[in-house]
Symmetry: C2
Subunit: 119 residues, 2 copies
């Protein structure tokens, strides 16, 4: 059975933990078009704080999803780029965002129905 993700010891869980981070998802989407600098990412991904963005990027680097290239310049320049592995992750992520855009209305409606239920 493929769904051994149910076993907490299965490494697949480890992936879900990665996907289960909305910032990682947004970083993958942001880098899909090519390398970007830290501040670019920060501006592009609305609402992310530098600390969390750094954490996210470092973890993704550790997991082999992206590379971090520091240029010895002033002011500093650091470019982040997806590895082939990270790039391949873009496809399933795109499937999620496609689903999201298609069904977001239904979810919002369900939520409104539930929350605002007048009795």
């Amino acid at each position: 059975m493929r769904g051994d993700a149910f076993d907490p010891d299965c490494p697949t869980r480890l992936i879900l933990d990665r996907i289960g981070d909305k910032w990682s998802v947004l970083v993958v989407l942001s880098l899909a078009g090519g390398p970007r600098r830290f501040t670019e990412l920060r501006r592009r991904i609305g609402g992310v704080t530098p600390k969390v963005l750094t954490q996210t990027l470092r973890t993704m680097e550790r997991d082999g999803l992206l590379t971090r290239h520091v240029f010895a310049e002033v002011p500093p320049r650091v470019e982040y780029a997806l590895t082939p592995l990270g790039l391949s992750l873009g496809r399933p992520i795109q499937a999620i965002t496609d689903w999201a855009e298609e069904h977001v209305e239904a979810v919002v409606a369900a939520r409104a129905r539930h929350d605002g239920l007048p009795g």
Copy 2:
């Protein structure tokens, strides 16, 4: 551009927050085969605590992803089942788990390379 998920005010973000919960993902996978009871889910999804499972199920119900059916029996019986909306979410989620199973080795290897790098 479809990636308006970058805007924190875009409702697509709301979906990512949902997907961005590994327990929701596992619940969808668990219910893909048909309705299940609370304790079944709890046993099937290794490592989830009842509190968190309840939270997850309630949120998913609110979002229209599943239904909760309480039978007036003793001991109590509660069945959870995916709605068509929840069922449709199974496809992109499957894409993620497929990716995970295919590339988990690479991620684990990258992580080991990074962590254990002897110098």
